[in-house]
Structures are given as structure tokens and as C-alpha cells.
């Protein structure tokens, strides 16, 4: 292993443990544990939200994707970019106004039923575990490439650190690790971006021209259709566009600010930060095609994950390589810690405190439950990750997003905007969205392949790898049908009043 990389890696571990130490002093009750006391500023929370989208797989994956497949590398990035607008326009402010600690809090603000909360928490847990597995398996491979640790060692290091952050520092530590990582990653990307541009005399046309010539794909490199094609490309894009607005670990970030205005500021800051980051990442990818070369990139890792570190090495020598590798490691830690927290809050707040204890657990019991849940979520996901490490699970991240769009987004939007929506509709929408997506993926080419490139050998019954174009409408239709088919006349007045309350609070805030 490279000495500079190892020193920087240690430095990051020590710095994050310091953050956790100070955060731990401030994490004494449930509110501080789940939401950092609601005291983050718009800038801080905005950086943390954008940090959630700069996962190792998106940073290394986008740069590598553009370097190897040109235009098709943009797909993942454009969907994530525009998804911020969906969050901004439809979800951020009402969510902040209605919720407390979890997504289920927001939905049960309208339907105060244990089963609604139970299914909402189940969705959060399922999505969090799938998302976590995608991150962990990717992390194991990446850390091996970057720092030379074995897969199992890497996973245990990541597992211990993410548990420690959440366990002791709750949302405060999780947010600050994310904020600092976002700052480091943007700074590192910016330096590389300027270095790349300087190699091309700051002429964008030259970069495109030379990338096209350098790529073995020639003209096809700059044209769409290399990696994604047909209905699957459109389905993937729909899932990306709508997924962010239903991702639990992103949505709980809106509870860390004091009101809807700051929530709005956060998502505005996040949109600017992530868009500038993406623009830079595109040019890093194009630059790497010329400066590093497709052959070298594929030799290091066929999926192109080593593109950004290799580009750093070419442009800034060993130190830059070590820096980008260490920051990629920090990125993994920051993102998984957020997912642990969202899973733990669904477990401890929704299942334990609200359902089991009827909302009557003391602050001390709540924090203890949250800590036990954090350990459980971490241990369970690490164990599953060790079992699935040899399977090709690259689709799990996209699956988590599609699940979020199919199982969470319909119920979120109906709860806020549809007067006639009822408990049955909420439950059917969540169940059909969740299981519909999982079943479609289980029948898809991700799992079945006639030549044995997937988990099982055989022909896939469902033709698309990304089920979004079917599963998202399913979630919405199920919510609609569940509502209209179960409608009774008798209690419509009470229901109308309950919705009036949601309408007032989502628009004016809880104090109205």
C-alpha cells in the first residue's frame, strides 16, 4: 500500500472520530439523536444533502462512466440532478412542516394508525438495507483498489466506523462527517478540474475533439446508446428522476433544520453544489479518456471505477492520488452512516417507541433503543454484504432508488396533496409499490441470465433491468384504487377535517 494514501486515510479516520467525540457530548435526547436538534443551517444541510448524492459509486462511477462510454455516462448524473427539483417543488417544505423524526411521522400526521406507520417503517428499512448493500459491496471493492485492504477487512473497518459515528454522535456526527467530506471532495474535484482544463488550454472544444479521437469508440463515444438503450434507458431515467424524493436517508435530512424556509434553502444550496460538482465530473471523465487512456483505465478496473484516482495520479502525482483515494474512502463512510441512521430511526422511533410503546418511551429509553437499532442495522447489513459479495449487485443502488419512487413517493404525494386519500389507499400503495418492485426485479435480467452472468441461469420473465416505468405507476394506481374502492360515506367529515389540518400545517407550518 501507498504510504501517503495510508497516512491520509488515518487522518480522515482520526478527524471523523474527533467530530463524533464532540457530537456525542451534544447527543443526549431523541431529538438530538435523530435530527441534530433541528439546528443545522441551510448551508450546512445543503452540503450534507449534496454529500449524500456524492457517494463513492456516483463520484467514481460518473467519472469512469463518462471516460469509458462518453455520453451514456451522463445518464445517471442528469437524473440525479433534475431529481433535486422534484424534491424542491413537491416534497421538501411540506415534509419539514409535517414530520418530526422519520418519514412515517409525516404520513401518520394524517393517518394516525399503527399499520400505516408499520408499513412506512418497513419501506424505510427495506430501502435502506438495499441501498446500504449496494454501497457496502461497492465500498469493499473500492477500498481494496484504493488502499489495498482485503474485502472482509475493508467491510469491517467501514462497519465499525459507521456504527461508531451513529452510535455516539447520532445525526450531529453523521451530518458533520458528510459536510466535511463534501467540502473535501468538491475541493479535490475542483483542483483536478482546473488541472484538466489547463492541459487543454481552457478550450472546451479541444477536450471534446481529443476525447473523441482518444477513445477507441471514435465517433460513437460522443453519441448516446452505448450502454443504455431502448425502453430500459427511459425506465432507468424515470426511476432516477423520482427516486430521490422518496429516499429515506435524504428525506430525514430535512428534519435537521428549524423550518420550511431553511429546508428550502438547504435544497437550493444542494442543487447548486451538486450541479457544479457534476459539471466538473463530466470534464474529469472526458479529460481522463485523453490523459489516462481507455486501456489503462480498463486495466485498473473494467468498470472504470479507478478513473478519477488514476487521473489524479497523472495530473498531481502520488499525493493527489492519495488525496482522492482518501476522500473516496471518506465518501463511503459518510454515506453509509446516513443510511444506518435512517434505518435505525425507522426501527427505534417507529417500531419501538411509537408502535410497541405507544409513543410513551422516555427520552433515555428512546436513545438507548436508537443505539441498539444502529448496531443491529450495521451488523445485519455487514453480514449480508459478506454473503452477497461475489454476486453482481451493481443493480442494488438503482433498485433502492426505484423502490423509493414506487413505494414511498406515491404515499408521500397523496398524503400531502390528495384530499380523498385514506388509510387503505396508503397501505395498498406502500405494499404494492414495495413488493411490486421487488418481484419485478426478481424476475428481471439482473437476476436471470441464460448465460449465467446473473444470480440464476435462465430466461428473465420481465424484460427490463430497471422496473421503474412499471413499478412507479403501480404504486400510484394501487394508492388510487385502494382509496376509491374502500371509500365509505359515514366518516367523510372527520376525514375532511383531518386533511384540512394537513393542508394548513403543510403550507403554514406546525405552529399555525
Amino acid at each position: 500500500m501507498n504510504g501517503t494514501a495510508f497516512s491520509l486515510f488515518l487522518l480522515i479516520v482520526i478527524a471523523t472520530l474527533f467530530i463524533t467525540y464532540f457530537a456525542a457530548k451534544r447527543t443526549k435526547n431523541a431529538n438530538q439523536f435523530y435530527t441534530a436538534g433541528g439546528g443545522l443551517t441551510g448551508w450546512q444541510n445543503g452540503l450534507a444533502i449534496s454529500g449524500d448524492f456524492m457517494s463513492a459509486s456516483s463520484f467514481l462511477g460518473i467519472v469512469g462512466g463518462v471516460a469509458l462510454t462518453g455520453f451514456d455516462g451522463l445518464y445517471l448524473l442528469l437524473g440525479a440532478l433534475v431529481s433535486y427539483l422534484v424534491v424542491m417543488y413537491l416534497v421538501a417544505e411540506p415534509l419539514r412542516n409535517l414530520g418530526k423524526y422519520t418519514l412515517a411521522d409525516m404520513i401518520t400526521a394524517r393517518f394516525d394508525r399503527k399499520k400505516v406507520r408499520g408499513f412506512a417503517a418497513l419501506n424505510t428499512l427495506t430501502i435502506s438495507i438495499f441501498y446500504m448493500l449496494a454501497q457496502l459491496v461497492g465500498a469493499g471493492v473500492l477500498i481494496k483498489l484504493l488502499l489495498g485492504f482485503e474485502f472482509t477487512t475493508s467491510l469491517i473497518i467501514v462497519g465499525v466506523l459507521m456504527t461508531v459515528y451513529v452510535l455516539f454522535g447520532g445525526m450531529t456526527a453523521t451530518s458533520w462527517v458528510q459536510i466535511i467530506k463534501a467540502g473535501l471532495l468538491i475541493a479535490g474535484t475542483f483542483v483536478l478540474f482546473i488541472l484538466v482544463l489547463s492541459k487543454f488550454n481552457f478550450n472546451i472544444m479541444t477536450i471534446f475533439e481529443q476525447a473523441k479521437q482518444a477513445s477507441p469508440l471514435g465517433d460513437a463515444f460522443l453519441n448516446p446508446g452505448l450502454r443504455h438503450s431502448g425502453l430500459d434507458a427511459i425506465s432507468l431515467n424515470i426511476g432516477l428522476l423520482l427516486g430521490a424524493a422518496g429516499l429515506p436517508h435524504v428525506l430525514i435530512r430535512f428534519f435537521t433544520v428549524q423550518d420550511a424556509k431553511v429546508a428550502r434553502k438547504s435544497v437550493t444550496v444542494a442543487t447548486w453544489v451538486i450541479s457544479i460538482f457534476y459539471v466538473m465530473a463530466i470534464f474529469l471523465g472526458l479529460g481522463a479518456t485523453v490523459l489516462v487512456g481507455t486501456g489503462t483505465i480498463i486495466d485498473a478496473n473494467p468498470a472504470g471505477n479507478m478513473t478519477a484516482p488514476l487521473l489524479a495520479k497523472t495530473l498531481g502525482g502520488n499525493f493527489m492520488f492519495a488525496f482522492i483515494s482518501a476522500v473516496a474512502f471518506a465518501t463511503i463512510l459518510a454515506v453509509v452512516a446516513g443510511i444506518v441512521l435512517s434505518g435505525a430511526s425507522a426501527f427505534a422511533h417507529d417500531f419501538y417507541n411509537e408502535i410497541l410503546r405507544g409513543g410513551k418511551a422516555t427520552e433515555k429509553e428512546q436513545v438507548r433503543a436508537a443505539r441498539i437499532a444502529a448496531i443491529s442495522v450495521s451488523v445485519i447489513s455487514i453480514i449480508i454484504a459478506l454473503f452477497v459479495k461475489d454476486l453482481n449487485v451493481a443493480f442494488l443502488g438503482a433498485l433502492a432508488l426505484t423502490l423509493a419512487a414506487s413505494a414511498n413517493l406515491p404515499v408521500i404525494l397523496y398524503t400531502i396533496y390528495w384530499r380523498k386519500f385514506n388509510t387503505t389507499g396508503a397501505v395498498t400503495s406502500m405494499i404494492v409499490g414495495l413488493f411490486g418492485t421487488i418481484i419485478l426485479v426478481f424476475l428481471s435480467p439482473n437476476v436471470w441470465d441464460p448465460e449465467g452472468h446473473a444470480i440464476f441461469v435462465g430466461k428473465a420473465l420481465f424484460p427490463l433491468s430497471s422496473p421503474g416505468i412499471v413499478s412507479i405507476p403501480l404504486g400510484f394506481i394501487a394508492g388510487y384504487l385502494g382509496t376509491v374502492l374502500s371509500r365509505k360515506k359515514d366518516d367523510s367529515k372527520a376525514r375532511n377535517e383531518a386533511y384540512d389540518k394537513i393542508l394548513v400545517q403543510s403550507n403554514l407550518g406546525k405552529d399555525a
Binding site: 455520453f71 451522463l74 433534475v82 422534484v86 448516446p224 446508446g225 442543487t271 447548486w272 394548513v504
Partner: protein, 111 residues
């Protein structure tokens, strides 16, 4: 007074209805535009090759439209901040003039 009745009365005020209508008039067309603008690119790149035509030098229409997604995002984010500040103003008015008595709900704001 019954807590939930209080909310129903706020909902029935002219000001609150105006706020809802103003939000709807802005958000619904905006989100349809955003979704349509976004999905136009993958639909075009999937089912046609017309965007492969060069626009300026090596840059094709597809790349131009991809960068236009960034411009669109920045514009729509700015537009939202702007509009939201106006909605805040309307919300603040409703909160300060909140109806306390049972006939207060029917108060009409003569504009």
C-alpha cells in the same frame, strides 16, 4: 373550540384559498415542464439519432441538450426561490390575521 375545526376554518378563508391557488398555478405547470424537459432527452436519444448531428465543432445536439438540463435546473431552482418568497409573504399574512372567532373564518379580504 375543537382543534380540527380551527384548521377547517383557516382552509375556508379567502386568503388561504388564494395561497393554495397561487401555489397550484405555479407548481403544477412547472413540474410538468421539468419532467417533460428531462424525459425528452432520453426519449430522443433512445428512439432517434437526430441528436447525433453536430452543433458546434465536436459538440452534438445531445451534449447541448444535456448541458441545457443544467441551465434548466438552475433557472427552475431560482424561479422557485423567487416564487416561494412571495408565498411566504401570503402565509405570513394568513398567520397574523388568523381567524380566532367562529365567524372570523368568513371574513373577506377586499383586495
Amino acid at each position: 373550540m375543537d382543534d380540527n375545526k380551527k384548521y377547517s376554518q383557516i382552509v375556508q378563508t379567502v386568503e388561504f384559498q388564494q395561497l393554495l391557488k397561487a401555489k397550484k398555478r405555479f407548481i403544477v405547470p412547472a413540474i410538468i415542464f421539468i419532467a417533460a424537459f428531462f424525459i425528452f432527452l432520453p426519449i430522443m436519444t433512445t428512439y432517434s439519432t437526430v441528436l447525433n448531428k453536430p452543433l458546434i465543432g465536436p459538440i452534438t445536439w445531445a451534449w447541448f441538450l444535456a448541458f441545457l438540463q443544467f441551465i434548466m435546473t438552475w433557472t427552475m431552482a431560482g424561479l422557485y426561490s423567487n416564487k416561494a418568497a412571495k408565498f411566504d409573504h401570503l402565509s405570513d399574512q394568513i398567520k397574523t390575521k388568523r381567524p380566532g372567532k367562529h365567524d372570523g373564518a368568513k371574513e373577506v379580504n377586499d383586495l
